[in-house]
Amino acid sequence: MSEAHAELGFLRKYVFSTDHKVIGIQYGITALVFLFFGFCLMMMMRWQLAYPGEPIPLVGGLLGETMVDRGAMLPNFYNQLGAMHGTIMVFMGIVPLAVGAFGNYVVPLQIGAPDMAFPRLNMASYQAFVVGGVVMLVSFLLPGGAASSGWTSYAPLAVFATSGQTFWLLGMLFLIASSLLGGINFIVTIIHLRADGLTFFRLPFFVWSQLVTAFLLVLAFPALQAAAILQAMDRLAGTSFFLPSGLVVGGSAVAAAGGGSPLLWQHLFWFLAHPEVYVLILPGMGIVAEVIAVNTRKPLWGYKPMVYSLLFLGFLSFGVWAHHMYMTGMGTTMSTFFQITTMIISIPSVIILTCLVISLWGASIRFPVPMLFALAFLPMFGIGGLTGLPLGLAAPDAFLHDSYYVIGHFHYVVAPGTIFAMFAGIYHWWPKATGRHMNETLGRIHFWFSFLFMNGIFMPMMFEGMAGVSRRLFDPTIYTHAEAAHGLTIMTSWSAWGLALAQIPFVINFFWSMRKEERAEENPWQATTLEWATPTPPPHGNFVETPVVYRGPYEYSVPGAERDFSPQFVKQGG
């Protein structure tokens, strides 16, 4: 079946496009904008946390009276910022960037396909994402403000919350739909549209990571969809799925029949949200694997164990969710089961990390900017993963649950973890997508300051959590033990503002390098995978001739070969 394209107008080519590369870039830009917005929310929160009760500089005067009192943040606004920061970063930032942008752009290229299996469905996924994102952002303008019950929207609090929560539920339905449609597209594309000779075990690790991620999205998100529908019914139709009887809020009895269970919300939510965190990390691991392979000039060590670990991880991720619920009054049987599965699931993560680390042995390591980010990913993800240990065991979790230690743990994985992987990917594939090189010096400045400030933000949090400081506190200094740790808060806040400044070289680089004269070659990194077989930038349909694959994805420094890399798509003796 052919899709004939006469000269397309601007709208069909750039706005309503079905080309996976255009859609990938759309996702990328939209996600980066949302990430920046989510970051701005946090920067305001960081002021309140470091200097409680003081007027916020620069923006304090611009915010409405429901948000600030003479420039100083109000608790209601703080809770909104907290809930929306998490929601925006996870669902409107990282997933669309990691899966929607990188997945869409790179996967069809790496498997030698002309496009995704369902290009129009792809466009629909992007549009659903935009609608969901807009609904989320617009909720800030409601009289009661945006959702303010945490990104976790626990019932009953979220059931009683203002209309912003209903917008959150509606926005989630659109965002989930977008991910479901996208997931289906990725699975079918990867299974069906691989080039000749591209067997599963010749796939780049990045493609494997996207395949497993797509399965997680497709099978886990529906639980949150169901939960969102039930919570919407509780809020709008007066049902009591999550409301037990006899509740009294603010002195008056709640007008609901009762008979429901708050824990039901948590089970449904975490059934999605645990696989979701693997959705957040796997594409990043995939990108890091690609960048490391290219820049070590040798095959990845343990490719097969890494792939099996991915599959095992994906499967197990459905069986650990209640480790987020240890403190809810769980009995020993249930907690033992989930502690065991949680301990087991750490093994494949350790395997993948260790394989990537061992891949450095015997290498010839180049250090372009993408490699800096990819290398930094390793210890940063290491810290994030390791700090999951005391949280995964119920007894130490009794002390650390819902403290800053948890915030430090997951941010280490997602911020200097995934986001660094995202930067690695941007710098790495930029020459292919735009035909230009990004400036190395600006890139290095961006990297080093980001690395410094990321640690400046999240390492203090580990200690703050150890000191007993709970999360989601508008003013932690109310507690003596938190006041004693206040120095850590100030360190974190200044590092956060520093991190924002550290992105300026990246933004400059982004726009400046697009306007450069000098063009990049087709395969500037001398890489072996299929995306480098296309013209730069790849045209609609990607490949001039349909590629055929002759070998594995990481045939670098093959003994006896002419060059130190043997691309998958080149027939030569290899």
Binding site: S2, E3, A4, H5, L8, V188, G238
Partner: protein, 211 residues
């Protein structure tokens, strides 16, 4: 920029999976739907077993009409049969029969919705809404919340199926002439979706009406 791109396996089966991309796609979609309805059924179980609901009515005790539910079940099962018949007619090149059977499927699906509509309005006229706890007790059950939510979501799925089939019926002739194999594939895919929605009802009916 003008170019033609050919995306393979839209009309021919892939050697590894043995199906077209569209068919693989709908199976994956149905897997996600199983998770969706599965989450709702699990919620039913947790709420029925896990909370201290003083009294959980059976469907009959709650006032659900088993004969009507049975009729609806038969309507849907028949509609699945007509759906298969419409696809088979297409494959046998009998376009008129195809239109008849697809029309019957649409009609039966709509009939299901009409019957559902009557059931709902009967409930509402007796002041039975999703928010009603059963009975007036210190620990009421969420039976009606579950009933309306589960059947409501299912009805939305039926409606969607009806609309898609309607579209296929209306634009069918055009597509059948120009892209025959793909059109047959679309009917098959729509059929798979329709059978799934039927299957969900076959679980819903006993769980809500009979248990």
């Amino acid at each position: 920029m003008s170019s033609t791109i050919v995306i393979p396996y839209q009309a021919e089966a892939h050697p590894l999976t043995g199906v077209t991309s569209g068919k693989l796609g709908i199976w994956i979609f149905l897997a996600s739907e199983i998770m969706l309805f599965g989450a709702l059924f699990s919620s039913y179980v947790l709420l029925r077993v896990g909370t201290g609901a003083e009294y959980w009515p059976s469907g009959v005790e709650a006032g659900l009409n088993v004969p009507i539910g049975t009729v609806n079940t038969l309507i849907l099962i028949t509609s699945s049969v007509t759906m298969v018949m419409s696809w088979a007619s297409l494959k046998m090149d009998k376009f008129a029969a195809f239109k008849f059977y697809l029309g019957a499927t649409i009609g039966l699906g709509s009939l299901f919705l009409v019957v559902k509509g009557f059931e709902y309005s009967a409930k509402f006229s007796h002041h039975i809404y999703p928010a009603v706890g059963w009975p007036e007790a210190t620990d009421p059950s969420t039976f009606f919340g579950l009933y309306f939510t589960l059947t409501g979501l299912h009805a939305l799925h039926i409606l969607l199926g009806v609309l898609v089939n309607l579209w296929l019926l209306v634009y069918g002739a055009e597509l059948w002439k120009t892209e025959r194999v793909r059109f047959e594939g679309r009917i098959e895919i729509s059929g798979l979706y329709w059978h799934f929605v039927d299957l969900v009802w076959i679980f819903l009916f006993p769980v809500l009406y009979l248990l």
